[in-house]
């Protein structure tokens, strides 16, 4: 599998994703600098976390306008898998690949902690190593992770089974108490219609190493490697 990680000036989880991909794939992804014209042909594009361009206006808004993201949109529309994590998710909504918007956390504070997620759609290249209803624990770290969309959009996401992860209690119920940021319907991650674009606020790459306190993030990368190796 050949993967590219998009590196913007303010990306700061780019190396973390690089390490996680290397661990699963056995080889390094391409670290693609945002200003470089040609995005190589790859099997997977990752838009990592961070503060892409400072995020001063709205998270992800400035990055969404960059040429490299326009190219990412084009690839996604051709079916290339695109994974946006945290700031990457914010960028994917701002550029229109995913519906809705990530607003400021309801608690008005940055929040960094492990959360429990229920896997809602294990039928994608990103989630094939998980099973439906599985509960995994990985961290969030964001100031703007409060997913918002109008009811019509939310209903569509539900009807089309495009919610990939929801915040849940350790036992698995999706409850308000388990929602760290006020996200509509406890949404932590969503898919596009083609199911080849996943945006998620939690960071699977941060818990893919037992020494750091957990490995629930690892199956995402293992699964991608398996799925895309057979696809290629």
């Amino acid at each position: 599998m050949k993967a590219a990680v998009i590196v913007s000036p303010g990306s700061n989880c780019d190396r973390d994703v690089q390490v996680a991909l290397r661990q699963s794939a056995g080889s390094d992804p391409i670290m693609h600098w945002h200003a470089d014209a040609d995005l190589p042909d790859v099997d997977l594009i990752v838009v990592p976390g961070g503060f892409s361009y400072g995020d001063y206006l709205r998270a992800g808004a400035l990055a969404a306008q960059s040429p490299v993201i326009r190219e990412v949109v084009a690839r996604a529309n051709k079916g290339v898998p695109v994974l946006g994590i945290c700031n990457g998710f914010q960028i994917l909504t701002e550029c229109g690949l995913l519906p809705g918007v990530l607003m400021r956390n309801a608690g008005l504070k940055f929040i960094c902690r492990d959360v429990d997620l229920r896997v809602e759609a294990a039928d994608t290249v990103f989630t094939s190593d998980y099973v439906n209803r599985q509960i995994i624990r990985i961290p969030v770290a964001h100031n703007e992770g409060n997913y918002f969309a109008d009811d019509e959009t939310l209903n569509r996401l539900d009807d089309e089974n495009r919610v990939a992860f929801r915040y849940c209690c350790p036992e698995g119920e999706v409850r308000a108490a388990a929602n760290p940021n006020g996200a509509a319907r406890n949404i932590a991650g969503i898919l596009n219609e083609g199911r080849n674009v996943l945006g998620m606020m939690p960071h699977p790459e941060r818990l893919a190493d037992a020494l750091l306190g957990g490995t629930d993030g690892r199956p995402m990368f293992d699964g991608l490697v398996e799925a895309l190796a057979t696809a290629a």
Partner: protein, 80 residues
Amino acid sequence: MKARIHITLKNGVLDPQGKATEHALGGLGFGGINDARQGKYIELDLAENDPVKARDTVEAMCQKLLANTVIENYEIDLDE
């Protein structure tokens, strides 16, 4: 010419910042606040001097970048 842009949350979109401000003001003993809403305010100093063209440009800026129209409204004032 100067453009003053107000970006506010659409009706029906929850405004936790406004709520927090209202709450904090209440705590400081300022009663009688029916509602508080918080938005952004952007001032642009433009080289353009034609108000019609300026408005068109700023309109385009808001659409493309300054506001996220899924949740936000914007209002443009020009002053020479």
